[in-house]
């Protein structure tokens, strides 16, 4: 039985987070009524000309920097020619020869092992529109097809990897790492399910030790990380089966069927498609000045891996905690700011990962979208330490802050949640508990010491948690002695 080695290369498309489109000033806002974010330029009216969106170039350069790429002094746009109704000009402005950036890498970690994946190129292009077919899933056979040009011209960044990926799991981890990076530096919201991050894969297998690549197939329609893993697993299996039976792999494009978890070959002449690329004569070359690149560099935040390592070391956190706290720049900033004003970072981390994260999850919010500051959290934690409120009360306080956005002190005052530290006040409660629980009091007095905890619990309940448990116990024991 042959041992096979799997070779995978990925081609990723990421929608850039710009306000306006790649070559016109139309809004890129998602979800508008069909054909409302359009203009003569992005609908390809005769006579229009494209003008490059500088912000899109900046975001692609930013990405190229964190992908350790070489940014080319001169790069040019090219026309990719093909007819399709979602492409108003019947050519896509893309980059072909001389892309924006080349020769980079990303380090990923798969099951504890670090691995470097090469990046062949990063380039800019424009997105196509959306077709809706009636009477058929595809344009052929449809009774009618409608086109929405709102998405047409949205800036896309294409990232192509070297064939360095060796398993479906590596591919999935690569995509997750890339998503995290793109989100972290704020160039793309990178949601595969929504199509703002898309991925096609080239996959082939060869006998282990061989140095020639096998025939590759291109896998499309992978709309989630899970789909990336499943599709490549299925395609890898198919290659093995075909080759082991003495068959041949045909170079073709295959679509992943998410439900059947198999890939389906398209009877298209995709590989024979001649796009007749040539330099876009309506645009001048991109020649980013050194100073501009340096300026862009300054806008890049500390990357997640580095930040996590620093959090682990500086705040004495576990690896898992550090990774959680660096999952987005907003969470990381929140934690760091809180830690500046509160001396026990581990406790702050627990609150963020616990109650706060639960609240955000339940309400489908992110930390930068709520009216809650790291300072408020630090203040609340300080009050716990001072004994003004108990940990339990703090949970109520936090929930109330998140609900109302009010100040910590105001909430404590309004809800009467301050801890009772006046002994006579506590003794009043204790007297009441002793009177109401003669059985348990008798048991305690007869030597069943653990029953004291029941009585403490009753005090806590009666005081709505506003008495410190150890103080309640001490005063109870004194009263019962």
């Amino acid at each position: 039985m042959t041992n096979w080695e799997t070779i995978i290369g990925l081609e990723i498309h990421a929608q850039l987070l710009t306000e306006s489109k790649m070559f016109c000033s139309c809004s890129t806002k998602f979800g508008a009524k069909p054909n409302t974010n359009i203009c003569p330029v992005c609908t390809g009216q005769p006579g229009v000309l494209p003008v490059t969106n500088k912000k899109a170039i900046a975001l692609a350069i930013k990405t190229a920097i964190i992908l350790n790429c070489k940014i080319e002094k001169t790069s040019i746009f090219a026309r990719k020619n093909y007819f399709y109704p979602d492409l108003p000009k019947d050519f896509q402005i893309s980059q072909y020869e001389l892309p924006l950036a080349v020769n980079g890498f990303i380090d990923i970690e798969v099951e504890g092992v670090k691995k470097r994946i090469g990046i062949t190129r990063v380039h800019l292009e424009e997105d196509a529109g959306k077709l809706v077919h009636k009477g058929s899933a595809r344009i052929m056979g449809a009774g009618e097809s409608l086109v929405d040009y709102n998405r047409t011209g949205t800036p896309l960044m294409e990232i192509v990897t070297e064939p360095d990926i060796r398993s479906s799991l590596e591919a999935k981890v690569f995509m997750e790492t890339l998503q995290h990076l793109l989100q972290f530096i704020g160039v793309c919201d990178a949601k595969m399910e929504e199509g703002s991050l898309r991925c096609d894969a080239n996959i082939s297998i060869r006998p282990e030790g061989a140095n020639k690549f096998g025939t590759k197939t291109e896998v499309k329609n992978m709309n989630s990380f899970r789909a990336v893993a499943k599709a490549l697993e299925a395609e890898e299996k198919r290659h093995k089966e075909v080759l082991q039976e003495g068959g041949k792999i045909i170079q073709e494009t295959r679509f992943f069927d998410d439900i059947a978890e198999t890939t389906i070959g398209m009877r298209s002449k995709e590989s024979a498609h001649d796009y007749r690329y040539f330099p876009e004569p309506d645009l001048v070359p991109i020649e980013p000045e050194h100073a501009w690149i340096e300026e862009i560099k300054k806008t890049i935040v500390e990357l997640p891996t580095k930040k996590a390592e620093r959090f682990e070391k500086d705040f004495e956190l576990s690896k898992a905690d550090a990774e959680f706290l660096t999952s987005t720049p907003a969470i990381a900033d929140f934690f760091e700011n809180c830690a500046k004003h509160y001396s026990k970072p581990k406790i702050a981390a627990n609150w963020i990962m616990g109650d706060l994260a639960a609240y955000l999850n339940a309400n489908n919010l992110t930390i930068d979208k709520i009216d809650f500051s790291p300072l408020k959290l630090a203040e609340m934690l300080g009050l716990i330490d001072k004994g003004t409120i108990s940990g339990k009360i703090a949970k109520i306080v936090l929930a109330e802050i998140l609900k109302t956005g009010k100040n910590v002190q105001d909430i404590i005052k309004d809800l009467g949640l301050t801890q009772i530290s006046d002994e006579s006040e506590i003794n009043n409660i204790i007297d009441e508990i002793i009177n109401n629980n003669p059985k348990q009091v008798a048991e305690f007095k007869s030597g069943k010491d653990p029953v004291i905890m029941f009585l403490v619990g009753q005090v806590m309940k009666a005081s709505k948690g506003r008495v410190k448990p150890d103080m309640a116990q001490e005063l109870l024991r004194r009263a019962l002695s």
Binding site: P40, T43, G44, Q45, P46, G47, V48, L49, P50, V51, T52, R79, N81, F83, P85, P88, K89, D90, F91, I139, M140, S145, V147, D274, R276, Y277, F278, P281, D282, L283, V284
Partner: protein, 483 residues
């Protein structure tokens, strides 16, 4: 009145001797009288013209600063987008097309309250040298209605020569302003690539196209260039540099001007009468104190083949959008997408356009790209270098604009190669992106001959000055056809 120039009419307007409405009406009267014979216009825009004329008269009465083209009737080639006004490129595929926007130059002229008379005929998508490729009809040369007016801006040149407008806009990809100007005995100026915005000019070959004036004399050409030149942020290839006042370059002096007479355009294939006229023009320059020497441009022999690779390549891509999906003609025979594409384009495009789309598609195809397209780009660089060398020695270069005077309608219609060669003197200039002007310099068999003056990049001032000085020493530009 409609036979006057824009600068003459401007003076009359300022002195309140005449109103813009009167000029406009005179022009439309001339159109009514002669258009059946000349057929220069695809569409007339009389309503819009009169509206602007009235506005212009109001502005003139108010005595504000009056720009030279305010209230002056101007014809616009029908490949420039005019918002809400049919713009066809003389193609059936755009028969019903109403642009949702104005070309930058259209907007500029409208802001000056120039008076748009209508949209002039051209070879379909500006592909041709005679207007015989128009999807609608052939425009006639006002000097001899049996001959072509040249092309592709034949409608604009014929309208100007026939006094059916005061001046006009053309576009020039391989000679499409200069050659018809030459054939119709008027002045045609192709500016440096990047001087005039192309936004709204329906592209034929993006790296070669340039909009420019077609006028009755050099002064008008300078005035119209003033109105349309300048950086446009909507056109990334337009050059951001200060634009001089070209009127200042209208100085009657050619003293010590170093002139190169391009010997490669004075040999085989050029009519004897044309050569004679150019030699005479050279002597006129010498009489003004200019120094004329012959210069050889050895790469010119590659210019036509180079052009017929680059221009169709770009055109094949530029014209892809005419697919029946969004605007223009859509075939009724559209059982499915592919057949909608096939039939729409089969019915909508004429044979010359189809020929060039096929050539362009071929030269960009895998396996042919290097042999044709890349090689053509290299040849283009060599042609540019030839010019660079020449402009180290000379201030301007001169040559015939076309190898002959206007030819008979139908004479070359079935011989595309000979038709392509009629642009041999103009094409190198587009490939190098340089400015050049054609102006009348004589007659042969009763038809005008054009002198081409080529300048270095952005040397419109020098070019215009040479042309102006020549014009002051001759009176060819005063000759008008008798219709």
């Amino acid at each position: 009145m409609n036979s006057l120039t824009a600068h003459e009419l401007h003076q009359l307007l300022l002195n309140k001797k005449v109103s813009s409405v009167e000029i406009t009406e005179a022009v439309f009267k001339q159109i009514e009288k002669n258009e059946d014979k000349v057929k220069a216009y695809v569409s007339l825009t009389k309503e819009k013209a009169l509206k602007n004329a009235e506005e212009a008269d109001k502005r003139i009465r108010s005595g504000e600063n009056i720009p030279p083209l305010c209230g002056i009737p101007i014809a616009i080639k029908d490949n420039m987008c005019t918002k809400g006004t049919r713009t066809t490129c003389s193609s059936k595929i755009l028969n019903n097309y109403l642009p949702p926007y104005d070309a930058t130059i259209v907007k500029k002229l409208d802001d000056l309250l120039a008076v748009p008379t209508g949209k002039t005929n051209l070879d379909e998508f500006a592909m041709g040298s005679s207007t015989e490729n128009s999807g609608y009809f052939t425009t006639k040369n006002p000097w001899d209605l049996k001959t072509v007016p040249g092309g592709s801006s034949g409608g604009s040149a014929a309208a100007t020569a026939a006094d059916e407008c005061i001046l006009a806009l053309g576009s020039d990809t391989g000679g499409s302003i200069r050659q018809p100007a030459s054939f119709c005995g008027v002045v045609g100026l192709k500016p440096t690539y990047g001087l005039v915005s192309r936004y709204g000019l329906i592209a034929f070959a993006s790296s070669l196209d340039q909009i420019g004036p077609i006028t009755k004399d050099v002064t008008d050409a300078a005035l119209l260039l003033n109105a349309i030149a300048g950086y446009d942020q909507k056109d990334s290839t337009s050059v951001n540099r200060p634009v001089p006042n070209y009127q200042n370059s209208l100085v009657n002096s050619a003293d010590k001007l170093r002139i190169g007479l391009i010997s490669d355009l004075m040999g085989k294939g050029i009519d004897e009468d044309v050569k004679k006229a150019i030699k005479t023009a050279a002597r006129v320059f010498e009489s003004m104190g200019a120094i004329v020497e012959e210069v050889s441009m050895p790469t010119f022999e590659y210019a036509v083949p180079t052009y017929y690779i680059i221009a169709p390549a770009e055109a094949s891509s530029n014209l892809a959008r005419f697919d029946g999906v969004k605007f223009g003609h859509r075939s009724k025979e559209a059982p499915d997408l592919i057949n909608m594409y096939y039939n729409t384009r089969k019915e909508g495009f004429g044979s010359e356009v189809k020929r060039r789309i096929m050539i362009g598609t071929y030269v960009l195809s895998a396996g042919y790209y290097d042999a044709f397209y890349l090689k053509a780009l290299k040849a283009r660089t060599l042609i540019k270098q030839d010019f660079e060398k020449a402009f180290k020695r000379f201030d301007i270069l001169i040559s015939p604009t076309a190898p002959s005077v206007a030819f008979k309608i139908g004479e070359k219609a079935n011989d595309p190669l000979s038709m392509y060669l009629s642009d041999i003197a103009t094409i190198p200039v587009n490939l190098a992106g340089l400015p050049a002007i054609s102006l009348p310099c004589g007659f042969s068999k009763g038809l005008p001959i054009g002198l081409q003056i080529i300048g270095d990049a952005f040397a419109e001032e020098k070019t215009l000055q040479a042309a102006f000085a020549y014009e002051q020493h001759t009176d060819w530009h005063k000759k008008r056809p008798k219709l």
